[in-house]
């Protein structure tokens, strides 16, 4: 029997660092031995579909990192959302540019109607109307930004499904911005460095002329840390992070129990960020 704690993502990731092997290559985010060992992971992620008779969505195999955002935890505590956003800004040297036209946003707050424009806005509950929702890159399983990029500067990290960027390869054509149905990408219209409030030496700053977005804290995962926003919400369950393809992961337990929604599922990008509203 597997120790319950062992399933905790943090421990798993931490253990790999202790093992002393070059971290990025072996971050284990899965307790499923098959998935963790990288051989297959074809274990059907969702076996029981008896009640619905629809066309199944295919999900890629291997580790697929995703996130559940439990808004019920944020309704009582919008301050925590601000803190989570601040943590991301600090961790990634996200510049704070006052002019909304040139803004750089990785994770930000917006109304329900903005985050879920394809859902009906009529007669929503007070909670939904009065609260702000976090928006961020969905690290889609079928990312249209990756399809559009002519240089592979935006790509899927095979071992964990993160949609990552190479700031040194990006030519700044902004095709990816047109292609993303979620407005998750920002372009550096000018040198962002003067707008960095608190400089973090452990993360690169960007220059002008390239696109950037949330990276699911790939750099922190490599060190065995949770994403910065998830860490802020620790213990509350407001943000749950883990492997969507691992039937025993914490995130899958939440997904199995709760009704969740994704942003614009009709776009076919298969977002990996789920919301409990």
């Amino acid at each position: 029997m597997m120790d319950n704690k062992r399933r905790k993502f943090l421990k798993m990731a931490g253990a790999t660092v202790l093992a002393g092997i070059s971290a990025p290559a072996i971050v284990k985010l899965s307790s499923n031995p098959a998935v963790a060992a990288g051989d297959g992971g074809h274990e059907a992620p969702a076996a029981a579909h008896a009640a619905t008779d629809t066309h199944d969505e295919e999900q890629s195999s291997g580790v697929r990192l995703g996130m559940v955002i439990d808004m019920r935890k944020f309704y009582q505590n919008q301050g925590m959302l601000d803190e989570a956003i601040a943590a991301c800004i600090k961790a990634h040297n996200v510049p704070q540019i006052p002019d909304p036209k040139s803004e750089i946003k990785w994770i930000w707050k917006a109304g329900f109607g903005n985050v879920f424009p394809e859902h009906s806005q009529k007669l929503r509950s007070e909670k939904v109307k009065d609260n702000q929702f976090p928006a961020l890159c969905n690290h889609c399983d079928n990312p249209s930004c990756v399809k559009a990029c002519p240089t592979k500067a935006t790509f899927v990290v095979e071992k964990n499904g993160i949609v990552a960027m190479d700031f040194h390869r990006c030519i700044g054509c902004r095709f990816c911005m047109a292609a993303c149905p979620y407005g998750a990408r920002s372009f550096n219209w000018q040198d962002p460095r003067p707008f960095i409030k608190e400089y973090n030496v452990n993360f690169p700053t960007r220059g002008r002329g390239v696109v950037e977005k949330c990276n699911f804290c790939g750099e922190r995962l490599a060190l065995g840390l949770e994403p910065a926003c998830v860490e802020v919400c620790k213990g509350t369950g407001a943000m749950v992070f883990g492997d969507l393809n691992d039937p025993h992961s914490e995130i899958r337990k939440v997904l199995d129990q709760e009704f969740t929604i994704q942003r614009k599922p009709a776009a076919g990008t298969k977002p990996s960020v789920f919301y409990i509203v």
Binding site: K101, V115, G172, A178
Partner: protein
Amino acid sequence: MIEKTLKGKPAYWIWLGILASLIAIGWACYFRQYSFGLGLTGMSRDVSWGLYISQFTFLVGVAAGGLMLVLPYYIHDYKAFGRITILGEFLAISALVMCLMFIMADLGQPLRGLNVLFYPTPHSMLFWDMCVLWGYLLLNLLCGWVILTAERKQVPPPKWIYPFIYISLPFAVSIHTVTAMLYCGLPGRHFWLSAIVAPRFLASAFAAGPSLILIACMVMKKFANFDAGKEAIQKLTTIIMYAVIINTFFFLLEFFVGYYSEVPGHMHSLEYLFFGLEHHGEVYNNLVPFMWAATLLNFGGLGILAYMKIAKVFDYRLVGTAAVMIFLALWSDKGLGFVFAGFVPNPLEQVTEYYPTMNEIGITIGVWATGFLLLTLLYKIALGVEEEVEH
């Protein structure tokens, strides 16, 4: 043959001088943009493509429009186009050079542009667009030059050039189809996500390209004693007329789909273009005057052409007026409205309007001036050769 560009009347030199000054202004503006970044433009996080990409899109159409001269001559052996086919090929060259310059002006990291070659990415439509644009440019350079050289020597063009000419025909269609695919394959941009975008692009291209050639013919008739021939001009107006009708029809189909289905995403951009989009008590409508002007010009130009056909009159001034009207209409539609409106509203259904800055307009004019300079020089060569042959 280049030496033909060195002799000309004063008007020729004044024209070149004006273009050269505009080009100089364009470079000065580009230098500013290069040192500061694209923040000097009116583009934003929400409207992330602006004038540069919209001009690029329109000019790909102008380049493809040359097909309407090349195809009748080479495939249907339509002799009346003999004198102007070369104009179509040279127009394509100038338009494509402008396209490539607009792309470079739009890149955030222009020095890394070659990354598209170093890391070829077949699933990106931009990669294919680059391939077909360069392919078409090289084909036109080759065919144009070889044909003109043969004409000068008064021999028929060499046999080996014909396969290249025939390849260039589907290539012309491909450049605008692939350019349409940049837009119509993006999930979440409802205005662009329409299968009719590519056909619509082609229809408007087959009107815009020949219109510009007609305008050039009028100018050269006045200043350079060049007569394309009444038959050729009349045929061109027929081609333009049908292309405009088809383009208008396609556009109206978009209206039907949007307003009959009443799917919000399919109506928003059209509403923004023609009536103004209301959002939180504010009305956003900066493109409305352009779109209605385009509508009037479109039907006005069409009316003139139709009148000439029905009343069986032929008047160079009418032809010129109609060509200018139609060219401006298609420019407003594709060179402004189509690209900007695709970003309104943004994916979070917020509205940001786009207003180009003076610096951006300076660069845009500079690129257009470069294209016209190139076009002038190429047409000067073509005319020079014709004159030489006639004497």
